[in-house]
Protein backbone atom coordinates (compact mmCIF):
# COMPACT_ATOMS: atom_id res chain seq x y z
CA UNK A 1 0.00 0.00 0.00
CA UNK A 2 1.11 3.54 -0.65
CA UNK A 3 -0.12 6.71 1.04
CA UNK A 4 -0.09 10.01 -0.79
CA UNK A 5 -0.55 13.23 1.14
CA UNK A 6 -1.24 16.39 -0.80
CA UNK A 7 -2.03 19.97 0.16
CA UNK A 8 -5.46 21.52 -0.29
CA UNK A 9 -5.45 23.89 -3.29
CA UNK A 10 -8.61 25.74 -2.25
CA UNK A 11 -8.18 29.14 -0.62
CA UNK A 12 -10.27 30.68 2.09
CA UNK A 13 -12.52 33.44 0.82
CA UNK A 14 -12.40 37.02 2.04
CA UNK A 15 -16.18 36.82 2.33
CA UNK A 16 -15.88 34.07 4.93
CA UNK A 17 -13.81 36.36 7.14
CA UNK A 18 -16.19 39.29 6.87
CA UNK A 19 -19.50 37.40 6.66
CA UNK A 20 -22.61 39.17 7.86
CA UNK A 21 -25.97 37.72 8.87
CA UNK A 22 -29.09 38.65 6.95
CA UNK A 23 -31.45 41.15 8.51
CA UNK A 24 -34.48 40.14 10.61
CA UNK A 25 -37.66 39.83 8.55
CA UNK A 26 -40.87 41.70 9.32
CA UNK A 27 -43.73 39.46 10.46
CA UNK A 28 -45.92 40.84 7.69
CA UNK A 29 -45.74 43.31 4.81
CA UNK A 30 -48.89 45.15 5.93
CA UNK A 31 -48.24 48.93 5.98
CA UNK A 32 -44.73 48.38 4.67
CA UNK A 33 -42.88 49.71 1.62
CA UNK A 34 -41.61 47.22 -0.94
CA UNK A 35 -38.78 48.16 -3.28
CA UNK A 36 -38.56 46.62 -6.74
CA UNK A 37 -34.93 46.96 -7.78
CA UNK A 38 -34.54 46.35 -11.50
CA UNK A 39 -31.05 45.45 -12.66
CA UNK A 40 -31.89 46.53 -16.19
CA UNK A 41 -32.17 43.18 -17.93
CA UNK A 42 -35.06 42.35 -20.23
CA UNK A 43 -37.96 40.64 -18.48
CA UNK A 44 -36.74 41.43 -14.99
CA UNK A 45 -38.92 44.52 -14.87
CA UNK A 46 -41.94 42.50 -15.97
CA UNK A 47 -41.32 39.97 -13.21
CA UNK A 48 -40.79 42.55 -10.50
CA UNK A 49 -43.87 44.58 -11.37
CA UNK A 50 -46.03 41.46 -11.40
CA UNK A 51 -44.60 40.39 -8.04
CA UNK A 52 -45.34 43.86 -6.67
CA UNK A 53 -48.97 43.67 -7.87
CA UNK A 54 -49.53 40.28 -6.30
CA UNK A 55 -47.96 41.26 -3.01
CA UNK A 56 -50.10 44.39 -2.87
CA UNK A 57 -53.20 42.23 -3.24
CA UNK A 58 -52.08 40.08 -0.36
CA UNK A 59 -50.96 42.76 2.12
CA UNK A 60 -53.05 45.81 3.02
CA UNK A 61 -51.43 49.24 2.56
CA UNK A 62 -48.28 47.83 0.99
CA UNK A 63 -46.56 50.61 -0.94
CA UNK A 64 -44.45 49.68 -3.93
CA UNK A 65 -41.52 51.69 -5.32
CA UNK A 66 -39.89 50.73 -8.62
CA UNK A 67 -36.19 51.56 -9.01
CA UNK A 68 -34.24 51.52 -12.25
CA UNK A 69 -30.91 53.12 -12.94
CA UNK A 70 -30.01 55.06 -16.03
CA UNK A 71 -27.86 52.22 -17.22
CA UNK A 72 -26.66 48.70 -16.57
CA UNK A 73 -25.77 47.54 -14.00
CA UNK A 74 -27.85 49.58 -11.59
CA UNK A 75 -25.90 52.38 -9.97
CA UNK A 76 -24.90 52.28 -6.27
CA UNK A 77 -26.83 55.47 -5.56
CA UNK A 78 -30.08 53.83 -6.70
CA UNK A 79 -29.36 50.79 -4.53
CA UNK A 80 -28.74 53.09 -1.58
CA UNK A 81 -31.95 55.00 -2.26
CA UNK A 82 -33.97 51.76 -2.36
CA UNK A 83 -32.46 50.58 0.92
CA UNK A 84 -33.22 53.92 2.53
CA UNK A 85 -36.81 54.28 1.34
CA UNK A 86 -38.06 50.70 1.65
CA UNK A 87 -38.66 48.13 4.38
CA UNK A 88 -37.89 45.17 2.11
CA UNK A 89 -36.48 44.95 -1.41
CA UNK A 90 -36.74 42.34 -4.14
CA UNK A 91 -34.74 42.08 -7.34
CA UNK A 92 -34.55 39.86 -10.39
CA UNK A 93 -31.03 38.71 -11.10
CA UNK A 94 -29.14 36.21 -13.24
CA UNK A 95 -28.10 37.76 -16.52
Amino acid sequence: MSTLEVLNPVAQQRGALTAMAINPRPASLINKTLGLLWSGTHGGDVALKRAGELLQRRFANLSVNFYAGSGYPITPSIVKQAAKECDVVIGATAD
Binding site: M1, S2, T3, L4, E5, V6, L7, N8, P9, V10, A11, Q12, Q13, R14, G15, A16, T18, A19, I22, N23, P24, R25, P26, A27, S28, L29, L37, S39, T41, H42, G43, G44, D45, V46, A47, L48, R50, A51, L54, L55, R58, G69, S70, G71, Y72, I74, P76, V79, K80, A82, A83, D87, V88, V89, I90, G91, A92, T93, A94, D95
Partner: protein, 440 residues
Amino acid sequence: MVEVEKMGKPAVPIVSGRFEEDAIASARAFAMPDLQFVIVPRIYRNLPHEACIQQTEAVIDDLVHVLTNRDDHKRLSTIETADRHRFEGSDRYDAVLRMNEDFIMRDWGDGFPLAPATREAVDELLQGTCLAPDHLVCDMPPGFGLATVEKIAINAAMAGAKPAHMPVIIAAVEALSKLGSHGGKSLLMSTSCHAPILVVNGPIVQELGLNPGSGLGPGRDNRINIVIGRAFSLCLRNIGYWYPGQMDMDTIGTTRKFVHCLAENEAMSPWEPYHVDKGFKRDENAISIFVTDGELDVQDQGNTTAEGLLKTIAYGCTFGTRSLGERHTSERLIFMPPDVARAVGSQGFGKRGAKAFIHFHANASLGKMIQYMPLEGEARVAANWKWLEKLSEQERLDITVPVLDSADRYDIVVIGADRAKTLVMPSGPSSVTVGIDAYR
Protein backbone atom coordinates in the same frame (compact mmCIF):
# COMPACT_ATOMS: atom_id res chain seq x y z
CA MET B 1 -29.22 42.41 -3.11
CA VAL B 2 -26.25 41.73 -0.87
CA GLU B 3 -25.58 45.45 -0.80
CA VAL B 4 -29.15 46.17 0.30
CA GLU B 5 -28.87 43.62 3.10
CA LYS B 6 -25.61 45.25 4.15
CA MET B 7 -27.49 48.55 4.37
CA GLY B 8 -29.85 46.99 6.92
CA LYS B 9 -32.88 45.94 4.90
CA PRO B 10 -34.14 42.46 4.00
CA ALA B 11 -33.51 41.84 0.30
CA VAL B 12 -34.46 38.88 -1.87
CA PRO B 13 -33.50 38.25 -5.48
CA ILE B 14 -35.62 36.20 -7.85
CA VAL B 15 -32.95 33.95 -9.31
CA SER B 16 -33.32 32.39 -12.71
CA GLY B 17 -32.88 28.81 -13.76
CA ARG B 18 -29.43 27.35 -13.53
CA PHE B 19 -28.17 30.18 -11.33
CA GLU B 20 -29.00 28.61 -7.98
CA GLU B 21 -25.44 27.41 -7.40
CA ASP B 22 -24.16 30.75 -8.62
CA ALA B 23 -26.42 32.58 -6.17
CA ILE B 24 -25.11 30.50 -3.28
CA ALA B 25 -21.48 30.90 -4.35
CA SER B 26 -21.89 34.64 -4.93
CA ALA B 27 -23.62 35.18 -1.59
CA ARG B 28 -20.70 33.44 0.10
CA ALA B 29 -18.08 35.36 -1.89
CA PHE B 30 -19.71 38.69 -1.13
CA ALA B 31 -19.91 38.03 2.61
CA MET B 32 -23.64 37.34 2.96
CA PRO B 33 -23.68 33.52 2.97
CA ASP B 34 -27.27 33.20 4.16
CA LEU B 35 -28.79 35.54 1.58
CA GLN B 36 -32.28 34.25 0.77
CA PHE B 37 -33.63 33.94 -2.76
CA VAL B 38 -36.41 32.31 -4.74
CA ILE B 39 -35.88 30.27 -7.88
CA VAL B 40 -37.80 30.50 -11.15
CA PRO B 41 -37.19 27.95 -13.90
CA ARG B 42 -35.98 30.12 -16.79
CA ILE B 43 -33.74 33.12 -17.34
CA TYR B 44 -36.02 36.12 -17.91
CA ARG B 45 -33.98 37.89 -20.56
CA ASN B 46 -35.22 36.05 -23.65
CA LEU B 47 -38.62 34.95 -22.35
CA PRO B 48 -41.87 36.24 -23.86
CA HIS B 49 -43.82 38.65 -21.64
CA GLU B 50 -46.46 36.07 -20.64
CA ALA B 51 -43.84 33.52 -19.63
CA CYS B 52 -42.17 36.13 -17.40
CA ILE B 53 -45.52 36.72 -15.71
CA GLN B 54 -46.37 33.05 -15.28
CA GLN B 55 -43.13 31.91 -13.73
CA THR B 56 -43.18 34.88 -11.34
CA GLU B 57 -46.74 34.17 -10.21
CA ALA B 58 -45.68 30.61 -9.41
CA VAL B 59 -43.16 31.71 -6.79
CA ILE B 60 -45.16 34.36 -4.93
CA ASP B 61 -45.70 32.11 -1.91
CA ASP B 62 -41.96 31.42 -1.78
CA LEU B 63 -41.29 35.14 -2.00
CA VAL B 64 -43.63 35.94 0.87
CA HIS B 65 -42.03 33.21 2.94
CA VAL B 66 -38.45 34.50 2.61
CA LEU B 67 -39.52 38.13 3.06
CA THR B 68 -41.47 37.53 6.26
CA ASN B 69 -40.30 34.27 7.77
CA ARG B 70 -38.32 34.51 10.98
CA ASP B 71 -36.93 30.97 10.85
CA ASP B 72 -33.24 30.31 11.11
CA HIS B 73 -31.93 31.04 7.62
CA LYS B 74 -28.44 29.63 8.12
CA ARG B 75 -27.06 27.91 5.04
CA LEU B 76 -24.38 25.31 5.69
CA SER B 77 -21.08 25.88 3.93
CA THR B 78 -19.81 23.06 1.72
CA ILE B 79 -16.30 24.48 1.37
CA GLU B 80 -13.62 21.92 2.19
CA THR B 81 -11.20 23.44 4.68
CA ALA B 82 -8.85 20.55 5.56
CA ASP B 83 -5.21 21.53 4.97
CA ARG B 84 -4.21 18.15 3.61
CA HIS B 85 -5.78 15.17 1.88
CA ARG B 86 -4.57 11.59 2.09
CA PHE B 87 -5.05 8.91 -0.56
CA GLU B 88 -4.30 5.22 -0.18
CA GLY B 89 -3.42 3.15 -3.23
CA SER B 90 -1.96 -0.23 -4.05
CA ASP B 91 1.15 1.69 -5.09
CA ARG B 92 2.05 5.35 -5.58
CA TYR B 93 0.66 5.45 -9.11
CA ASP B 94 -2.66 4.09 -7.87
CA ALA B 95 -2.71 6.71 -5.09
CA VAL B 96 -2.08 9.47 -7.63
CA LEU B 97 -4.95 8.16 -9.74
CA ARG B 98 -7.24 8.20 -6.70
CA MET B 99 -6.18 11.74 -5.88
CA ASN B 100 -6.96 12.77 -9.43
CA GLU B 101 -10.38 11.15 -9.38
CA ASP B 102 -11.21 12.85 -6.09
CA PHE B 103 -9.92 16.29 -7.06
CA ILE B 104 -11.57 16.23 -10.47
CA MET B 105 -14.90 15.19 -8.95
CA ARG B 106 -14.58 18.10 -6.50
CA ASP B 107 -13.98 20.27 -9.60
CA TRP B 108 -10.56 21.31 -8.34
CA GLY B 109 -8.92 20.43 -11.65
CA ASP B 110 -9.30 21.23 -15.33
CA GLY B 111 -10.12 17.69 -16.42
CA PHE B 112 -6.53 16.79 -17.30
CA PRO B 113 -4.31 14.74 -14.97
CA LEU B 114 -3.01 16.74 -12.01
CA ALA B 115 0.43 16.38 -10.50
CA PRO B 116 0.28 15.72 -6.74
CA ALA B 117 0.98 18.86 -4.71
CA THR B 118 2.95 17.17 -1.97
CA ARG B 119 4.60 19.21 0.78
CA GLU B 120 7.95 18.56 -0.88
CA ALA B 121 6.77 19.64 -4.33
CA VAL B 122 5.25 22.83 -2.96
CA ASP B 123 8.34 23.63 -0.88
CA GLU B 124 10.45 23.30 -3.99
CA LEU B 125 8.26 25.77 -5.85
CA LEU B 126 8.43 28.19 -2.95
CA GLN B 127 12.18 28.37 -3.55
CA GLY B 128 11.39 30.13 -6.83
CA THR B 129 10.21 33.33 -5.18
CA CYS B 130 11.55 35.74 -2.58
CA LEU B 131 8.10 36.03 -1.00
CA ALA B 132 7.12 34.23 2.19
CA PRO B 133 4.59 31.39 1.84
CA ASP B 134 1.99 33.28 3.87
CA HIS B 135 2.43 36.52 1.92
CA LEU B 136 -0.96 37.64 0.63
CA VAL B 137 -0.64 38.60 -3.03
CA CYS B 138 -4.28 39.67 -3.44
CA ASP B 139 -7.90 38.66 -3.02
CA MET B 140 -8.39 36.80 -6.29
CA PRO B 141 -11.59 37.45 -8.24
CA PRO B 142 -14.26 36.52 -8.95
CA GLY B 143 -14.76 34.72 -5.61
CA PHE B 144 -12.09 36.71 -3.77
CA GLY B 145 -10.12 33.83 -2.30
CA LEU B 146 -7.00 34.74 -0.36
CA ALA B 147 -4.15 34.29 -2.84
CA THR B 148 -1.23 33.53 -0.57
CA VAL B 149 2.05 32.52 -2.15
CA GLU B 150 1.61 29.01 -0.76
CA LYS B 151 -1.86 28.54 -2.27
CA ILE B 152 -0.48 29.76 -5.59
CA ALA B 153 2.39 27.28 -5.27
CA ILE B 154 0.01 24.39 -4.52
CA ASN B 155 -1.96 25.07 -7.67
CA ALA B 156 1.22 25.62 -9.66
CA ALA B 157 2.50 22.26 -8.45
CA MET B 158 -0.68 20.57 -9.68
CA ALA B 159 -0.07 22.16 -13.10
CA GLY B 160 3.48 20.82 -13.28
CA ALA B 161 5.20 24.20 -12.89
CA LYS B 162 8.86 24.69 -11.97
CA PRO B 163 10.30 27.08 -9.35
CA ALA B 164 11.47 29.51 -12.03
CA HIS B 165 7.87 29.90 -13.21
CA MET B 166 6.61 31.06 -9.83
CA PRO B 167 7.34 34.81 -10.21
CA VAL B 168 5.43 34.84 -13.50
CA ILE B 169 2.47 32.98 -12.02
CA ILE B 170 2.36 35.23 -8.95
CA ALA B 171 2.47 38.34 -11.14
CA ALA B 172 -0.34 36.95 -13.28
CA VAL B 173 -2.53 36.39 -10.23
CA GLU B 174 -1.86 39.92 -9.04
CA ALA B 175 -2.57 41.33 -12.51
CA LEU B 176 -6.02 39.76 -12.58
CA SER B 177 -6.94 41.41 -9.29
CA LYS B 178 -6.03 44.82 -10.74
CA LEU B 179 -8.31 44.61 -13.75
CA GLY B 180 -11.05 47.22 -13.86
CA SER B 181 -14.41 46.58 -12.25
CA HIS B 182 -13.21 44.42 -9.32
CA GLY B 183 -10.81 42.26 -11.28
CA GLY B 184 -13.20 41.80 -14.17
CA LYS B 185 -15.56 40.02 -11.75
CA SER B 186 -18.70 40.61 -13.79
CA LEU B 187 -17.09 39.45 -17.02
CA LEU B 188 -15.67 36.32 -15.46
CA MET B 189 -19.11 35.47 -14.07
CA SER B 190 -20.89 36.32 -17.32
CA THR B 191 -22.88 33.89 -19.46
CA SER B 192 -20.64 35.03 -22.34
CA CYS B 193 -17.31 33.30 -22.81
CA HIS B 194 -14.94 35.92 -21.42
CA ALA B 195 -11.53 34.48 -20.55
CA PRO B 196 -8.14 35.86 -19.55
CA ILE B 197 -5.04 35.53 -21.70
CA LEU B 198 -1.49 36.31 -20.56
CA VAL B 199 1.46 37.87 -22.40
CA VAL B 200 5.00 37.96 -20.99
CA ASN B 201 7.65 40.50 -21.96
CA GLY B 202 11.32 40.84 -21.12
CA PRO B 203 14.42 38.68 -20.96
CA ILE B 204 12.59 36.10 -18.87
CA VAL B 205 10.86 34.91 -22.04
CA GLN B 206 14.09 33.42 -23.29
CA GLU B 207 15.27 32.34 -19.83
CA LEU B 208 12.16 30.23 -19.26
CA GLY B 209 11.79 29.04 -22.83
CA LEU B 210 8.42 30.63 -23.55
CA ASN B 211 7.56 30.41 -27.24
CA PRO B 212 7.00 33.83 -28.86
CA GLY B 213 6.32 32.22 -32.25
CA SER B 214 3.32 29.97 -32.90
CA GLY B 215 2.78 30.00 -29.19
CA LEU B 216 -0.96 29.67 -28.81
CA GLY B 217 -1.70 25.97 -28.90
CA PRO B 218 -0.54 22.49 -27.96
CA GLY B 219 2.81 20.85 -28.43
CA ARG B 220 6.37 20.51 -27.22
CA ASP B 221 7.41 24.03 -28.20
CA ASN B 222 4.60 25.51 -26.14
CA ARG B 223 5.23 23.46 -23.04
CA ILE B 224 6.20 26.41 -20.84
CA ASN B 225 3.41 28.60 -22.25
CA ILE B 226 0.95 25.85 -21.38
CA VAL B 227 2.27 25.10 -17.89
CA ILE B 228 2.28 28.74 -16.76
CA GLY B 229 -1.16 29.30 -18.24
CA ARG B 230 -2.46 26.16 -16.61
CA ALA B 231 -1.03 27.10 -13.21
CA PHE B 232 -2.80 30.44 -13.50
CA SER B 233 -6.01 28.65 -14.53
CA LEU B 234 -5.92 26.39 -11.49
CA CYS B 235 -5.32 29.41 -9.25
CA LEU B 236 -8.30 31.11 -10.84
CA ARG B 237 -10.34 28.05 -10.08
CA ASN B 238 -9.29 27.11 -6.57
CA ILE B 239 -8.33 30.54 -5.26
CA GLY B 240 -10.65 32.70 -7.37
CA TYR B 241 -13.52 30.20 -7.15
CA TRP B 242 -14.04 30.36 -10.91
CA TYR B 243 -15.87 27.05 -10.92
CA PRO B 244 -18.21 26.22 -13.83
CA GLY B 245 -21.83 26.44 -12.81
CA GLN B 246 -20.98 28.50 -9.75
CA MET B 247 -19.05 31.63 -10.57
CA ASP B 248 -18.29 30.78 -14.21
CA MET B 249 -21.70 30.78 -15.88
CA ASP B 250 -20.79 30.40 -19.57
CA THR B 251 -23.62 29.44 -21.87
CA ILE B 252 -21.46 27.23 -24.10
CA GLY B 253 -17.92 27.89 -22.92
CA THR B 254 -14.63 28.27 -24.75
CA THR B 255 -11.27 26.58 -25.05
CA ARG B 256 -9.78 29.96 -24.10
CA LYS B 257 -10.66 29.04 -20.51
CA PHE B 258 -7.70 26.69 -20.63
CA VAL B 259 -5.86 29.96 -20.12
CA HIS B 260 -2.77 30.31 -22.23
CA CYS B 261 0.37 32.30 -21.58
CA LEU B 262 2.16 33.80 -24.55
CA ALA B 263 5.27 35.87 -25.06
CA GLU B 264 5.76 38.87 -27.28
CA ASN B 265 8.11 38.26 -30.19
CA GLU B 266 10.24 41.26 -29.30
CA ALA B 267 13.12 40.24 -31.55
CA MET B 268 10.88 40.30 -34.62
CA SER B 269 9.00 43.49 -33.76
CA PRO B 270 9.78 46.87 -35.33
CA TRP B 271 8.40 48.62 -32.26
CA GLU B 272 9.02 48.92 -28.55
CA PRO B 273 7.68 45.92 -26.64
CA TYR B 274 4.20 46.03 -25.14
CA HIS B 275 5.44 46.36 -21.55
CA VAL B 276 7.50 49.43 -22.54
CA ASP B 277 4.25 51.02 -23.73
CA LYS B 278 3.01 50.39 -20.20
CA GLY B 279 5.93 52.15 -18.51
CA PHE B 280 8.43 49.35 -17.97
CA LYS B 281 12.02 49.28 -19.23
CA ARG B 282 12.88 46.94 -22.05
CA ASP B 283 15.15 44.82 -19.82
CA GLU B 284 12.53 44.49 -17.09
CA ASN B 285 10.17 41.52 -17.02
CA ALA B 286 6.44 41.97 -16.96
CA ILE B 287 3.22 40.11 -17.60
CA SER B 288 0.07 41.57 -19.10
CA ILE B 289 -3.41 40.21 -18.69
CA PHE B 290 -6.21 40.71 -21.19
CA VAL B 291 -9.80 39.47 -21.06
CA THR B 292 -11.12 38.32 -24.43
CA ASP B 293 -14.43 36.96 -25.64
CA GLY B 294 -13.68 35.52 -29.02
CA GLU B 295 -11.01 35.31 -31.66
CA LEU B 296 -10.80 35.69 -35.42
CA ASP B 297 -8.02 34.67 -37.76
CA VAL B 298 -7.60 37.69 -40.05
CA GLN B 299 -5.74 36.37 -43.04
CA ASP B 300 -3.96 38.52 -45.56
CA GLN B 301 -3.23 36.84 -48.89
CA GLY B 302 -0.71 39.07 -50.55
CA ASN B 303 -0.87 42.72 -49.50
CA THR B 304 2.58 44.22 -49.17
CA THR B 305 1.77 47.84 -48.37
CA ALA B 306 1.23 48.96 -44.79
CA GLU B 307 -2.10 50.47 -45.76
CA GLY B 308 -3.30 47.25 -47.38
CA LEU B 309 -2.23 45.09 -44.45
CA LEU B 310 -3.79 47.43 -41.89
CA LYS B 311 -7.07 47.71 -43.80
CA THR B 312 -7.33 43.92 -43.72
CA ILE B 313 -6.92 44.03 -39.94
CA ALA B 314 -9.35 46.94 -39.64
CA TYR B 315 -12.03 44.88 -41.35
CA GLY B 316 -11.22 41.99 -39.06
CA CYS B 317 -11.84 44.27 -36.11
CA THR B 318 -15.42 45.02 -37.17
CA PHE B 319 -17.01 41.85 -35.83
CA GLY B 320 -18.86 42.02 -32.56
CA THR B 321 -21.48 44.20 -30.94
CA ARG B 322 -21.58 47.77 -29.75
CA SER B 323 -22.69 48.96 -26.35
CA LEU B 324 -25.30 51.70 -26.19
CA GLY B 325 -24.42 52.48 -22.60
CA GLU B 326 -22.99 55.76 -21.40
CA ARG B 327 -19.53 54.45 -22.23
CA HIS B 328 -18.53 52.03 -24.97
CA THR B 329 -15.57 50.27 -23.39
CA SER B 330 -15.01 47.41 -25.84
CA GLU B 331 -11.47 46.93 -27.05
CA ARG B 332 -9.64 44.81 -29.61
CA LEU B 333 -6.54 42.81 -28.82
CA ILE B 334 -4.47 42.37 -31.97
CA PHE B 335 -1.82 39.66 -32.04
CA MET B 336 0.09 40.91 -35.06
CA PRO B 337 2.58 38.50 -36.63
CA PRO B 338 6.05 39.73 -37.63
CA ASP B 339 5.24 39.54 -41.35
CA VAL B 340 2.63 42.23 -40.83
CA ALA B 341 4.36 44.26 -38.12
CA ARG B 342 7.69 44.55 -39.90
CA ALA B 343 6.11 45.63 -43.17
CA VAL B 344 3.94 48.19 -41.41
CA GLY B 345 6.80 49.45 -39.26
CA SER B 346 9.29 49.71 -42.13
CA GLN B 347 6.83 51.83 -44.10
CA GLY B 348 6.78 54.56 -41.49
CA PHE B 349 4.03 53.53 -39.09
CA GLY B 350 4.71 53.64 -35.38
CA LYS B 351 2.46 51.55 -33.18
CA ARG B 352 0.26 54.54 -32.38
CA GLY B 353 -0.01 55.41 -36.04
CA ALA B 354 -0.97 51.85 -36.91
CA LYS B 355 -3.68 51.88 -34.24
CA ALA B 356 -5.01 55.22 -35.47
CA PHE B 357 -5.12 53.92 -39.04
CA ILE B 358 -6.98 50.77 -37.97
CA HIS B 359 -9.44 52.83 -35.92
CA PHE B 360 -10.11 55.14 -38.87
CA HIS B 361 -10.93 52.21 -41.15
CA ALA B 362 -12.72 49.93 -38.67
CA ASN B 363 -16.29 51.08 -39.24
CA ALA B 364 -19.50 49.12 -39.35
CA SER B 365 -23.25 49.47 -39.55
CA LEU B 366 -24.60 50.66 -36.22
CA GLY B 367 -27.84 48.82 -36.90
CA LYS B 368 -26.01 45.52 -37.31
CA MET B 369 -23.91 46.04 -34.20
CA ILE B 370 -26.96 46.68 -32.03
CA GLN B 371 -29.22 44.06 -33.59
CA TYR B 372 -28.54 41.83 -30.56
CA MET B 373 -30.61 44.02 -28.25
CA PRO B 374 -34.16 45.36 -28.65
CA LEU B 375 -33.95 49.04 -27.76
CA GLU B 376 -37.34 49.51 -26.17
CA GLY B 377 -37.50 48.89 -22.43
CA GLU B 378 -33.80 48.21 -22.15
CA ALA B 379 -31.84 49.86 -19.36
CA ARG B 380 -28.60 49.34 -21.28
CA VAL B 381 -29.60 52.11 -23.69
CA ALA B 382 -28.20 55.36 -22.29
CA ALA B 383 -30.06 58.65 -22.64
CA ASN B 384 -27.72 59.86 -25.38
CA TRP B 385 -28.77 56.92 -27.59
CA LYS B 386 -32.53 57.14 -27.03
CA TRP B 387 -32.96 58.92 -30.38
CA LEU B 388 -32.29 55.58 -32.07
CA GLU B 389 -35.67 54.31 -30.87
CA LYS B 390 -37.37 56.68 -33.32
CA LEU B 391 -35.54 55.33 -36.38
CA SER B 392 -36.64 52.49 -38.61
CA GLU B 393 -34.53 49.36 -38.78
CA GLN B 394 -33.27 50.38 -42.22
CA GLU B 395 -32.29 53.84 -40.97
CA ARG B 396 -30.26 52.24 -38.18
CA LEU B 397 -28.60 49.89 -40.63
CA ASP B 398 -27.60 52.83 -42.83
CA ILE B 399 -25.65 54.57 -40.07
CA THR B 400 -21.93 53.76 -40.11
CA VAL B 401 -19.85 54.32 -36.97
CA PRO B 402 -16.37 53.40 -35.70
CA VAL B 403 -16.56 50.02 -33.97
CA LEU B 404 -14.58 51.32 -30.97
CA ASP B 405 -14.50 54.64 -29.17
CA SER B 406 -10.90 55.57 -29.93
CA ALA B 407 -7.56 54.35 -31.29
CA ASP B 408 -6.46 53.79 -27.70
CA ARG B 409 -8.98 50.94 -27.48
CA TYR B 410 -6.73 48.84 -29.74
CA ASP B 411 -3.80 46.88 -28.30
CA ILE B 412 -1.11 45.56 -30.63
CA VAL B 413 1.21 42.79 -29.47
CA VAL B 414 3.68 41.27 -31.94
CA ILE B 415 3.40 37.51 -31.70
CA GLY B 416 3.76 34.64 -34.10
CA ALA B 417 5.73 33.00 -36.86
CA ASP B 418 6.25 33.98 -40.51
CA ARG B 419 3.00 34.65 -42.36
CA ALA B 420 0.52 37.52 -42.41
CA LYS B 421 -2.19 35.87 -40.30
CA THR B 422 -3.27 38.25 -37.55
CA LEU B 423 -5.38 37.16 -34.61
CA VAL B 424 -8.00 39.68 -33.50
CA MET B 425 -9.92 39.29 -30.27
CA PRO B 426 -12.71 41.40 -28.78
CA SER B 427 -11.42 42.38 -25.38
CA GLY B 428 -11.90 44.52 -22.31
CA PRO B 429 -11.65 45.83 -19.67
CA SER B 430 -8.29 47.47 -20.43
CA SER B 431 -5.25 45.27 -19.91
CA VAL B 432 -3.14 45.35 -16.77
CA THR B 433 0.65 44.92 -16.80
CA VAL B 434 2.50 43.86 -13.65
CA GLY B 435 6.24 43.55 -13.08
CA ILE B 436 7.66 40.09 -12.46
CA ASP B 437 11.10 40.90 -11.05
CA ALA B 438 9.88 41.86 -7.57
CA TYR B 439 8.78 38.25 -7.06
CA ARG B 440 12.03 36.53 -8.11
